[in-house]
Amino acid sequence: MANTETMTLNMGPQHPSTHGVLRLVLELDGEVIVKVTPHIGFLHRGVEKLSEHRTYHQILPLTDRLDYLAPMSNNLGYILAVEKLMAVEVPERAETIRIIMAELTRLQSHLVWLACHALDIGAMTVFIYAFRERETIMETYELISGARMTSNFFRVGGLSQDVPEEFVKKVSDFIDSMPGYLDQYEGLLTTNPIWLKRTVGNGVISAEDAIEIGITGPALRGSGVDWDLRRDDSYAGYDKYQFKVPVGEKCDTFDRYKVRLIEMRESCKIVRQGLDRLKPGPVLADCPQVCYPPKESVYNSIEGLIHHFKIASEGFAAPEGEVYQGVEAPKGELGFYIVSDGGNKPERLRIRPPSFVNLQAIEQMSVGSMIADLVAVIGTLDIVLGEIDR
C-alpha cells in the first residue's frame, strides 16, 4: 500500500534560487507541493520607521536600498510623490533624463531577472551574457552618479547634477546594440526545448485571480491584463512617448518571459526617443524653498552656502495632506504614500512594494507542481527581498 504521509521540507533562507533571504516551508507529497508557507522579514531594516525621523531629502538614499536592482525606479517613485505633495514643476531636461534612466533601470532589472531565472532553470550561458550587458548600464550609472548601485541621483525638483558629455554617446551605442543582444538571448532560450518544457504551462494564474491577489507589472501583463501605469496612469511625462504594452495569453511562465523580453525592446525605443528629445537646459527646478542650490553657487557665494545649509539641515516644510504616487517599476506597481502633518518630516511614509504583493501568489501558482517548478515560479515572479522586507 502506498504511504500517503506528507513531508515538510525547509527551503532557504540561504538558498541560491530564492533570490536573497526568502524562506519557504514546503509540504510535499513525494515531489509534489501540497502547501507553501513563505517566511519573510530577514532583511527588515525599518525603512518606513526611519523615514518618519528624516527630512524629505534625507529619505531619498533609503529608497535606493529597497529594490537594489532598480535604484532609480525607487528614487523616481519617491521624488514624484514628494513633488506631488509640494506641487513642484520639473524642467524638461531633468524629466527626459529621468525617463532615460528609469528605462535603463528597467533593462538592468530585467537583465538580472533573465540571467538568474535562466540560471535557476539550468541555462548558464544566458547568465554570463546578460551580466555583460548589465555592466554597461552599471557603467552609465557610475558615469552620472558615481555609484554603480545605490545611485541616489534624482532630487526633489530635478537631478543632483547634469549628465556629462559622454553620456549621450554611451547610452546611444548601448541602445543600438541591445536589440541584437536580445536576439542572442532569444536564440538561446525561446525555441530551446528544455526551456519550453520548464516554462510552458508552469505557474499558471488567470487574469481574474491575478487582479484579485493584487499582482502588478509584467506578471499581471503575462496573465493577459492590458495594464501599464506608464500609459494608463501616466506620470513623469511618459505620455509624450510612444511604446507598446506587451500582453501574454496563456498566463504561464513562458508568457511572462515573452512579455519581459518585449518590454526590454520597448524600453530601448523609449530611451531612443528620450535621447532625441534631450535639449540643453536646467536640470533642477527654480524653487529655492524645496531644492538644493546649484553646486557652483554653494562653493562660490555665501548666500548659496547658507541656502545649502538650510536645506540640508532643516529640509522644507510640506503642506498638510496626503498623496499617493504609483510608478511602473520593473517589478510592478511601486507606490509611495506620504502623510504630511505640515512639518519637515513625513508623519507616515508607506512604501507599497510590488514584490511583497506579487510573492503572495506563490502558493496559488505552485501548489500541485514539483519542487523544481517552484524554483521557476520564484524566478518568474521576479522578487527582490530588499523591497519585500524593507
Binding site: 519573510i40 522579514g41 527588515h44 525599518g46 518606513e48 520607521k49 526611519l50 525621523h53 528624516r54 527630512t55 534625507q58 506631488k84 505633495l85 506641487a87 487582479i211 484579485e212 491577489i213 493584487g214 491584463v225 495594464w227 494608463d232 496612469d233 529640509g315 495632506g321 496626503e322 498623496v323 499617493y324 504609483g326 506597481e333 507606490g335 504614500y337 502623510v339 502633518d341 518630516k345 508623519e347 507616515r348 508607506r350 507599497r352 511583497f356 504583493v357 503572495q360 522586507d389 524593507r390
Partner: protein, 162 residues
C-alpha cells in the same frame, strides 16, 4: 471636483450615514467612512463600481493628534475605469479591532498581517493572523509612534538624526 467623482456620488447615495468626510488634495479623492460599514462599503466599491484591485492597505498612527489613534487606509484601483480612490476609516486604541478585508480582496491577507505586525491592529476573522516581518516572539509593534526608533532595549541615540 470631489463631489463629481463617480464613486463619491454613489457612496453618498447609498451610505450617506456612514460617510464622515470627503477630501480632495492634489487630484486624489479620499473618503473617510465609519468603521462599522467598512466591509459593506469596500464590497460595494468592488462589486458595483469595479474597483477590482486593492493596491495597498496600511495604517497611520496619529497618537495624541486625533481622537481615534489609528487610521486604516485602503488604496483602491479600478482597472476598467482607470481611476483610484482612497478609503480611510478611524480605529480607536481602546477597540483596536477591525473586520478583515481579505474576504473582499485576497491581497489584503498579507497586507493586514503587516499592519497587525507593525501597528498592532487586530483583524477580525483574518485567515492567517500571524506576524509577517518581525519574528513571532517579538514584543511590541514597531511602527507605533510610542515605539522607540532605536528599539526597545537600547539607549536612545544621542547624536544628530536630522
Amino acid at each position: 471636483m470631489a463631489e463629481n467623482n463617480r464613486a463619491v456620488l454613489k457612496l453618498k447615495e447609498k451610505f450617506a450615514a456612514s460617510i464622515i468626510d470627503v477630501v480632495e488634495f492634489r487630484g486624489e479623492v479620499t473618503v473617510t467612512v465609519a468603521k462599522d460599514a467598512i466591509i459593506e462599503i469596500l464590497s460595494f466599491l468592488k462589486q458595483s463600481l469595479q474597483f477590482n484591485q486593492l493596491t495597498d492597505l496600511t495604517a497611520v498612527d496619529y497618537e495624541g493628534k486625533k481622537e481615534d489613534r489609528f487610521m486604516m487606509v485602503y488604496q483602491l484601483l479600478s482597472i476598467p475605469h482607470k481611476d483610484r480612490l482612497r478609503i480611510k476609516t478611524p480605529v480607536s486604541e481602546a477597540v483596536c479591532i477591525i473586520p478583515t478585508a481579505s474576504q473582499v480582496w485576497k491581497t489584503a491577507n498579507w497586507l493586514e498581517r503587516e499592519v497587525f505586525d507593525l501597528f498592532g491592529i487586530v483583524f477580525d476573522k483574518h485567515p492567517d493572523p500571524r506576524r509577517i516581518l518581525m519574528t513571532e516572539d517579538w514584543v511590541g509593534h514597531p511602527l507605533r509612534k510610542d515605539y522607540p526608533l532605536q528599539g526597545p532595549d537600547r539607549e536612545p541615540y544621542k547624536g544628530r538624526l536630522s
